[in-house]
Symmetry: C2
Subunit: 144 residues, 2 copies
DNA sequence: TGAAATAAGGACATGTTAGTCTTTATTTTT
DNA sequence: AAAAATAAAGACTAACATGTCCTTATTTCA
């Protein structure tokens, strides 16, 4: 579904968001520990998120990553996915045909459509805030 | 979503099925031509399908692949997927957590659940016959 | 029986994703 | 100003998915 990089990105972003509501910045080291992801690899994906303007980064001692809390309901999961994987996840033909479309559908097209649509809706309509509140309240988890 | 191998497998199986309703066997060469997939790679996936009992293979001149037409409504897409990719497609946590479950959900779990469920239902309930009829009638396509 | 047509099998090649390591840049603290 | 703590950047490596090639086995046909 999502690439590893994208999974880490979403997990990391949620963690950074949770810290940001407490007014704290989080270091790469802490993120990868709490999100259970490889440090150096996670660094790469965070750089992309930072360049895409989804997270803010600060170098130096007491630096790290954070997110403007007032933005957290505006940031959608789709933005993270787009920054890392692109939108092919929910646009691509399920059977891999380049030319699959409403006019020229693959045999699976019609049946698969609601799944893809649903996925797209969910990803475009759930905000970072939505995902973060459960983590803050302790009802959801980012690692074992 | 599905691996390339699995996409080819589904396309190939539908094509073989369409030929089988006409009482014909199809050679590997013809399959990969009509389904637009690399010959040798497709051979591998067909071997798996054959070993899984989803398709029948016959060696030698006038050999090839076919499917018992009376089985075509019993064979579900999920069987093909299972034979090639396994069932992780619709079982795996969307954020990659090994320990994600109803009791210990990731932040995306609840929202993602209907998508996964839907996908699983569709894949388990659409039969090979379902996918083949459109191809036979000319309303769906397996390549450009 | 020999040749041709096919699938099966295994070794190899290529490409992409995932991941590491090292150096550099920036900021804060002392 | 120097040291420490951090992120950024780029080169490198590893693992896996995708794909090719060659040889072998089986079947049919002339």
């Amino acid at each position: 579904m999502f690439s590893k990089a994208c999974e880490y990105a979403i997990r990391a972003t949620i963690f950074i968001a949770a810290r940001s509501v407490e007014g704290k910045r989080t270091s790469l080291k802490e993120i990868s520990r709490e999100v259970d992801s490889p440090v150096a690899f996670t660094a790469k994906t965070l750089q992309k998120l930072s360049k895409s303007g989804i997270i803010l980064s600060t170098k130096g001692a007491h630096g790290g990553f954070n997110i403007d809390p007032t933005q957290m309901s505006a940031i959608k999961v789709s933005q993270i996915v787009m920054a890392i994987d692109g939108d092919m996840v929910y646009k691509r033909c399920s059977l891999g045909l380049d030319s699959c479309s409403e006019d020229h559908p693959c045999p699976f097209h019609a049946r698969f459509k609601p799944v893809r649509q649903d996925l797209q809706n969910i990803v475009e309509n759930t905000s970072l805030l939505d995902l973060t509140s459960g983590l803050v309240s302790g009802s959801t988890f980012l690692k074992v």
